[in-house]
């Protein structure tokens, strides 16, 4: 499985915040995502119909997850009827073993891959390399981070943190290309290298955006054409799907094809949608002779078991929650320490990996709710984050159980809020006490050892010089007088 570095959330965040290139990348370029999404929804549907579509999608996904055993069974039967093989993998290692076994039996040397997040969980590239094969990522962003030996920075834009100069340097180092800061030329360089790989590859590995149970059809949503290459050029095609990727019926696909690209990139539809239900027919001119579909658990069963967390399995990996998250937009994708980042990463990583190691992730949110508002399948991410915080405190996984100083302060707060006199008295006292430590409305450091943890990674808002209730009264007086 891909290395888990969730414990380093705080230090990795601090590092990302100091990195000017990462901060640049997280700024203006993301307007393409957020504005593009808002514009296309407004142009094509309007808020009301969009809301109805989200409701419908959430209902279909939740229906499917509640009957997952039925739909997995149906999909398996249909794929086999179409002549494909279906495998069920319990964890990353199991899934890797299945892929390696298929590759060895087919005497595979070069493997081309189109984008797949579950294959990132598996760390399949390292595994194939250790078996002497050459795995090549063919999505441009994935290709760049494969050369950089990094994990995806973003679910759908894995190399969004790299500048064109950094990409050029990577290409120069690994494929000996001439340096350039022309993005079109950089794409051309990658295209030429990857064309060779498409021509020679024996096996293609793809993900699956959806798996239609009633027909046994894997649906791929892509823009570059590498997904079509991966499913057309090699002799063997292996599709890897998280076990939650099912949709009951073919006609359900229309709704999800309307929701996914608009939420992800602000497109009406992506350039390509590929529908694969099995190997090629004998009379076909080209295409893989062998087709495999692997359903992967790898921690999803734990999400399923928890009646609250189960909702996270509705996710269609569009990345909209990342794009709209004020925390992701400062710390970026790598801080989250595994494969998934942003609000959905903070929700599923602690359950799919080790909750203790990932204890900081559920706190990487202001609970502003932007993620919930943009989620195309209406996952209530803030509620799930709160549920994880609750579980972490109850289960003693958190070091965040309160200190004596916090408890004392909370008792004071409780008393201060009881009567108006108590509140006014305490806030007068508070303003007096904060005078030496507050600057421009913020307290950068609360006195140790009392509650200094509160200001370790953020500033604490100071009490206003003139409380709201005073300003309110004065404004009223003024209005009455004027």
């Amino acid at each position: 499985m891909a290395e888990v570095k969730t414990r380093q959330f705080k230090s990795a965040s601090a590092k990302a915040i100091r990195d000017p290139q990462i901060q640049r990348a997280l700024g203006a370029p993301f307007a393409h995502f957020t504005e593009g999404r808002a514009d296309i929804i407004a142009a094509d549907f309007g808020d009301e119909s969009w809301e109805a579509m989200r409701d419908q999608a959430a209902a279909i996904k939740s229906h499917t997850i509640e009957r997952l055993d039925y739909y997995l069974d149906l999909a398996e039967k249909m794929v086999r009827r179409n002549g494909g093989h279906v495998h069920f993998a319990d964890d990353a290692d199991h899934a890797n073993r299945i892929v390696v076994e298929i590759a060895k039996r087919n005497n595979v040397k070069t493997v081309i891959k189109s984008k797949s997040m579950v294959s990132e969980e598996m760390g399949i590239n390292d595994r194939l390399e250790s078996e002497g094969m050459e795995p090549v990522e063919t999505d441009l962003g994935e290709y760049i981070i494969q050369l950089a030996k990094e994990t995806p920075f973003h679910i759908i834009a894995p190399a969004v943190h790299k500048s064109k100069e950094q990409v050029s340097a990577l290409f120069e180092k690994w494929i000996k290309s001439t340096p350039t800061d022309d993005i079109e030329k950089l794409c051309g360089i990658a295209r030429d290298v990857l064309r060779e790989k498409f021509a020679e590859a024996d096996m293609g590995i793809s993900g699956a955006n959806f798996v239609v149970a009633e027909t046994g059809t894997v649906v791929l949503v892509t823009n570059e054409g590498n997904g079509r290459m991966t499913t057309s050029a090699p002799r063997v095609h292996v599709a890897i799907a998280g076990m939650e990727k099912l949709l009951p019926a073919l006609e359900d696909v229309a709704l999800f094809l309307r929701l996914l690209p608009r939420s992800a990139t602000g497109q009406r539809i992506t350039s390509y949608n590929t529908f694969v239900s099995g190997p090629r027919a004998g009379s076909d001119e080209d295409g893989p002779e062998e087709f495999h579909l692997i359903f992967v658990d790898n921690g999803r069963m734990r999400l399923l078991k928890d009646e609250v967390m189960r909702e996270a399995l509705q996710c269609i990996r569009c990345g909209a929650c990342l794009n709209h998250c004020p925390v992701y937009r400062k710390v970026g994708g790598h801080a989250y320490g595994w494969v998934y980042s942003g609000p959905i990463g903070a929700v599923i990583t602690p359950v799919m990996t080790d909750a203790k190691e990932a204890k900081d992730l559920p706190y990487a949110s202001t609970l502003c709710g932007a993620c919930r508002d943009v989620c195309p399948v209406k996952i209530d991410l803030p509620r799930l984050l709160l549920h994880l915080r609750h579980r972490s405190v109850e289960g003693g996984e958190s070091e965040r159980s309160s200190t004596w100083a916090e408890r004392l302060l909370m008792r004071r707060w409780h008393n201060a809020m009881k009567t108006r006199q108590a509140l006014e008295g305490s806030s007068r006292l508070g303003r007096l006490l904060q005078r030496p430590i507050s600057r421009k409305g913020y307290i950068k450091k609360l006195p140790a050892p009392i509650v200094s943890g509160w200001t370790k990674s953020r500033d604490f808002p100071a009490l206003a010089d003139r409380p709201f209730r005073v300003r309110w009264r004065e404004d009223l007086d003024q209005q009455a007088g004027g």
Partner: protein, 250 residues
């Protein structure tokens, strides 16, 4: 083709799913989901309604396709009939300075004689299909060497400017994928209005030909594109960067 065997881990896996869901037994009846439950009879009725709608609204549907396609960076060409369509294809090839032109082998080329119109421009297209003089293993190299590809479509969908291309005997996957310039020939009768129309029709085909439906098809909805470097849009990565729709009236 023999049916592949069942994974020995399947039952245990599904059992774990059931346990996680807190259910003791498998679900034996088709769940109550409308799009899953429709019988062949009901689906036929639905498809008849769709066909009637598309025929009644043909002109609007075709002009909607032409609008969405233009927005999605297609070059849209309207032809009054097969002769004009063949001439348009030849002009596109000339404009693209194409030398190695490949096409599929399908019925539409019996009416739209692009071989003749291209020959008049000094180009003779090759058919990307296995035959007496060509082995299947050569098709990939041949497709990668081509600079223009021409195929027909199964349907076009106005809502999203999507052309549905279904590979089969005579229609190689690579013909519409490998060349940098792509031309798709569309009869106006093939144009559907919405994604729902397409999936309803395709589902009926599955219901009618259990196990004999095509295992592979693609929507092509514009040029190959990426924004993976600095969110800057670049056209023509692995697939065609220049895409043409020739809409043929009859």
């Amino acid at each position: 083709m023999p049916t592949p065997i069942e994974d020995p881990n399947k039952e245990a896996f599904l059992e774990r799913v059931r346990t996680a869901l807190g259910r003791a037994n498998p679900i034996l009846h088709t769940p109550d989901h409308p799009s899953l439950k429709a019988t062949t009879l009901r689906q036929e009725e639905k498809v008849r309604t769709i066909q009637a709608k598309v025929i009644a609204r043909r002109a609007q549907v075709v002009s909607r396709l032409s609008e969405t396609a233009t927005e999605a960076s297609w070059s849209v060409h309207r032809a009054s009939g097969p002769e004009q369509a063949a001439a348009i294809v030849a002009d596109i090839a000339e404009h693209a300075r194409a030398k190695n032109v490949i096409r599929s082998a399908e019925d539409i080329f019996k009416r739209v004689d692009i071989d003749a119109s291209l020959r008049r421009k000094g180009v003779s297209p090759s058919v990307l299909a296995a035959g007496r003089s060509r082995r299947r293993s050569d098709l990939k190299r041949m497709a990668f060497g081509a600079d223009l590809g021409i195929t027909g479509v199964s349907y076009a969908i106005a809502e999203t400017a999507s052309c549905v291309v279904t590979p089969r005997k005579g229609v190689a996957r690579m013909a519409s994928l490998a060349p940098p310039v792509l031309v798709l020939l569309i009869d106006e009768e093939q144009v559907l209005e919405t994604l729902d129309d397409f999936f309803a029709i395709t589902r009926l085909q599955y219901q009618q030909n259990r196990g004999r439906s095509p295992n592979y098809y693609n929507f092509i909805s514009g040029p190959s594109r990426t924004a993976d470097i600095e969110q800057t849009l670049t056209i023509g990565v692995h697939g065609p960067g220049e895409v043409h729709m020739v809409l043929i009236a009859n």
